[in-house]
């Protein structure tokens, strides 16, 4: 079998006209050999070590299982730090055909990046060889700040331990970068996370240096040895580093790690931060005495790069979000039951950052199955629960819980009084969008009578979640009440009323409800994105002839 595989590979490679086998393929598990590639536009043949893994011709861990390697070509684009040429090829289950495809891919790389020295418009972050610190993996997330760093600026970084988990088989410490301080500890920049993240407990701090240039060789590989920073770090900074280490040791932290942020501008103008871990007591510096003066000098030591990620809003929601015409709105959600909590969670997942919630109710265990609540937090106020759920999803959403008496007392007990009306109007007009999922007819009536400048959407569903009714102001109260009383077939004979229950409720699963809510929100997003008229609509689903879902536009 092995012999046969080796023969197939040997024969297939021999038949590729621009490839010569320099060292025959051999090996029991990994098959290795050496080839040279030669074709007309290439001035001289190029040599590559070839490694073919046992999974070949299948890919594994989202990577090719054939490697072409030569460290002499590190300066060219799309070459990994170990000299592997970066190729992505198409699937083929036949070894001979797959080899042909892969060598063709190698040839394409040679033409594009070796001969024509093409550089891609798409920028890729520097490649770092990441390593753990005494068996612990560390990861650092940062976001935008409203601050411009100066070349050679240095100081402290404020961070908090966000979570501990597993990365492969090793423990991982996840840190959130909260801001930057100057060398005297005075805050200079605050990261643009939501308030709750900027107030995270478990504070920690690190050191930063902002470099004028990318700390990289071939513009692609981050420095791997501290000595390479000799032209980057200033004497002042090395002295600062030395003083920091002395302080840490004084605080009996010898042997612990300190994150060291190295920042630089990337082509799109953003600041990117690489983070290395420094061991207290073993900083990569030493004091040398020259002309009777002590100075600090960098040591020839490998850098322990940690993981760093730009998690700013742009990247966090880069893969897909609602229109900015919706996400920039200040939104109030009234009622966070099955519908309201689904709305809230979807808005947050789709990039909304200013959301206020109001609900007087308490989450019961039986609410969990169809609302966006967790069992683990037990019986708790729904808005408290939702605030936590939403904040755990997005580091950019600021959630406020609104004083419920506005809706249960001021709006109703003082209905018709001009002062209360104008106070309620002022309060509600401070929002751009109000989404009422409370199913409170009385509140709907009151809201309908107000002079609201903000958009106001009313959402509710029928029993069995057959229909979702979406109404925009000023056509809410009449439209919604008529839909339920005159148009929709809202069968309330078949309600869920278990033993011990004093208030029967509608029947519908999480799947039934969220499907309708998702369609409604897709439509609402489209209305804002396209500027279409805010006309009321019904989302209707039935299983009469297979699943049938439609939007009925009014």
């Amino acid at each position: 079998m092995r012999r046969n595989r080796l023969d197939i590979i040997e024969k297939a490679v021999e038949q590729i006209p621009y490839v010569n086998i320099k060292e025959p393929f051999s090996g029991d598990v990994n098959i290795e050999g050496k080839v040279s590639v030669e074709f007309e536009s290439l001035s001289e043949p190029l040599e590559f070590d070839v490694t073919i893994y046992p999974q070949y011709p299948f890919r594994t861990y989202d990577a090719e299982t054939i490697r072409f390697n030569n460290k002499d070509y590190l300066e060219y684009n799309h070459v990994m730090g170990d000299g592997t040429i970066c190729i992505h090829t198409s699937h083929n289950p036949d070894i001979s055909k797959k080899l042909l495809i892969d060598f063709e891919s190698l040839k394409n790389w040679i033409e594009k990046y070796y001969i024509n020295k093409k550089s891609d418009l798409h920028y890729e972050h520097l490649i770092t060889r990441e390593s753990d610190f005494k068996g612990i993996v560390t990861s650092y997330m940062f976001t935008d700040v409203d601050y411009t760093f100066n070349p050679n600026q240095f100081g402290f970084v404020n961070l908090s331990l966000l979570s501990e988990g597993k990365n492969g088989k090793k423990p991982i410490h996840n840190y959130l970068t909260k801001g930057f301080a100057d060398k005297f500890g005075k805050k200079i920049a605050i990261c643009k996370w939501s308030k709750i993240y900027n107030q995270l407990a478990r504070p920690n701090h690190g050191i930063f240096f902002y470099s004028e240039k990318q700390p990289a060789t071939h513009n692609r590989f981050a420095y791997s040895n501290w000595e390479e920073f000799i032209d980057v770090f200033t004497g002042d900074f090395l002295e600062f580093l030395h003083q920091c280490e002395k302080e840490y040791i004084k605080k009996k932290r010898r042997g612990e790690y300190v994150p060291f942020y190295i920042g630089y501008n990337i082509p799109n103008g953003e600041v990117h931060w690489l983070v290395a871990t420094l061991e207290i007591g073993n900083f990569p510096i030493e004091g040398t005495k020259e002309n009777q003066i002590w100075t600090s000098k960098l040591l020839n030591e490998n850098i322990k790069w940690a993981t760093s990620r730009n998690s700013s809003y742009k990247y966090f929601f880069g893969r897909g979000a609602f229109s900015s015409k919706l996400t920039k709105k200040r939104i109030l959600i009234i009622g966070v039951g099955a519908v309201g909590s689904n709305v809230a969670r979807t808005l947050v997942k789709c990039g909304c950052t200013k959301i206020d919630l109001t609900d007087y109710d308490v989450k019961e265990p039986e609410n969990v199955c169809r609302a966006e609540f967790q069992f683990a937090s037990g019986r708790t106020d729904k808005i408290e629960e939702m605030s936590n759920v939403l904040s755990q999803i997005s580091p950019f959403v600021n959630i406020h819980t609104v004083n419920q008496p506005y809706f249960e007392v001021i709006s109703k007990a003082l209905y018709g009084e001009n002062k209360a009306k104008s106070e309620l109007e002022d309060f509600l007009n401070s929002y751009d969008l109000i989404i009422d999922c409370s199913t409170d007819d009385d509140l709907m009536f009151v809201l309908d009578s107000l002079n609201l400048k903000s958009d106001h959407i009313n959402l509710s569903i029928t029993n069995h979640a057959k229909e979702l009714v979406c109404a925009f102001n000023p056509n809410t109260y009449d439209f919604v009440t008529k839909q339920y009383s005159e148009i929709l077939d809202n069968n309330i004979e078949d309600l869920y009323n278990p033993t011990g229950c004093w208030s029967p409720t509608f029947k519908a699963s999480y799947n039934d409800i969220s499907m309708l809510v998702q369609i409604a929100l897709k439509k609402i997003n489209d209305i804002y994105q396209s500027g279409s008229p805010k006309d009321n609509f019904i989302v209707k689903s039935d299983m009469d002839e297979g699943l049938n879902i439609k939007i009925i536009q009014y």
């Binding site: 979640a465 009449d478 009440t481």
Partner: protein
């Protein structure tokens, strides 16, 4: 349950008759009279006799939302520019009624909305100043130039608009069927908070009757008119001539996206009513204040049967979330 569309619409019109609000209308008439007198006292020989116009004069008013309109014809020599005329009338009305009403400049008129009285009535009168084109010409042909205060569809602000209010009133005279449809479309507009101009709905209805030989019962006429609007409003070159000035294309008061929206709305309405005739109740509601109660139908609407429940079961119109 399907409804009889013709009978339902007749009920809608019946409940929206102005005769149901005679006492309120008297208050309107009194206010209008006092405003006209004030204008005549102040402007004396600068103006001809103010005349009533608008929906009430045309018999197309509905009792849920209406105002009374007064056209004030100024003589050519009264002001050197239309803007001066417009501003002067505004200043006068604001000085005279500013403490008891909100006085505001509108597109071609000045709106006076009196603060609610003890009966919670809010009276609204629109004053439309216009100036004759040449000296003494108004007596001959009733033509007036109106001042366009703010952008009016394709008409830019600070321009003028030639019209003939009397011709507009004549245009709709003795067109009973058209007036019923216009009133229904105004009920739709008012109850669904659509801000299309009544004048535009009026002209397009009359044109639909002219072009499409609309006939049949009330629903059939309404349906044909809505189909006509759906199919024609977005057509290139579609015009709605102002009977007071054939050069004034009232369709131009809508921008193209507004025409698209109006056409789409007509399509949606027709489709929904086709799906379920009960949807007429959404678009053309009866005025519940003047609905004749029929005891045999007490389980409809928000009557006792649907509203009250003796035990904790949700009512039929219960919403969920």
């Amino acid at each position: 349950m399907a409804i009889n569309k013709k009978e339902y619409l007749q009920e809608v019109l019946e409940t929206h008759k102005m005769s149901h609000v005679n006492s309120l209308l008297d208050k309107y008439r009194d206010k209008r009279k006092s405003i006209k007198e004030a204008l005549e006292d102040y402007y004396t020989d600068k103006i001809y006799s103010p005349l009533n116009s608008g929906s009430y004069a045309k018999h197309t008013a509905i009792n849920t939302k209406f105002d009374l309109d007064v056209v004030v014809p100024f003589k050519k020599k009264s002001f050197s520019t239309l803007e001066e005329m417009f501003d002067d009338v505004f200043d006068f009305l604001n000085d005279t009624y500013g403490t008891e009403a909100t006085v505001r400049k509108q597109k071609v008129s000045i709106g006076i909305i009196f603060y609610k009285d003890d009966d919670n009535h809010e009276i609204s009168i629109d004053i439309v100043p216009g100036r004759e084109l040449n000296e003494d010409q108004y007596n001959e042909d009733n033509k007036l130039n109106l001042y366009v205060n703010s952008k009016y569809g394709l008409l830019a602000e600070k321009t003028h608009l030639l019209t003939n209010i009397k011709a507009q009133i004549e245009h709709i005279k003795s067109k009973d069927n058209e007036r019923k449809i216009i009133r229904l479309l105004k009920i739709w507009k008012s109850s669904n908070n659509e801000d299309y101009k009544s004048f535009l709905m009026e002209l397009i209805t009359v044109k639909a009757f002219d072009k499409d030989n609309i006939s049949g019962n009330l629903w059939e006429m309404l349906e044909s008119t809505m189909e006509y609007i759906r199919d024609n409003i977005t057509k290139d070159g579609f015009t709605l001539s102002d009977p007071g000035n054939s050069g004034n294309n009232v369709a131009d008061t809508l921008e193209s996206w507004q025409k698209e929206n109006l056409s789409t709305k007509m399509k949606n309405m027709l489709d929904r009513i086709e799906d379920n005739s009960d949807n007429l109740k959404i678009y053309f509601p009866v005025n519940p204040d003047f609905k004749e109660e029929d005891n045999t139908k007490s389980n409809e609407g928000y009557g006792v049967k649907t509203g009250a429940s003796t035990f904790s079961v949700p009512t039929q119109n219960q919403r969920f979330g």
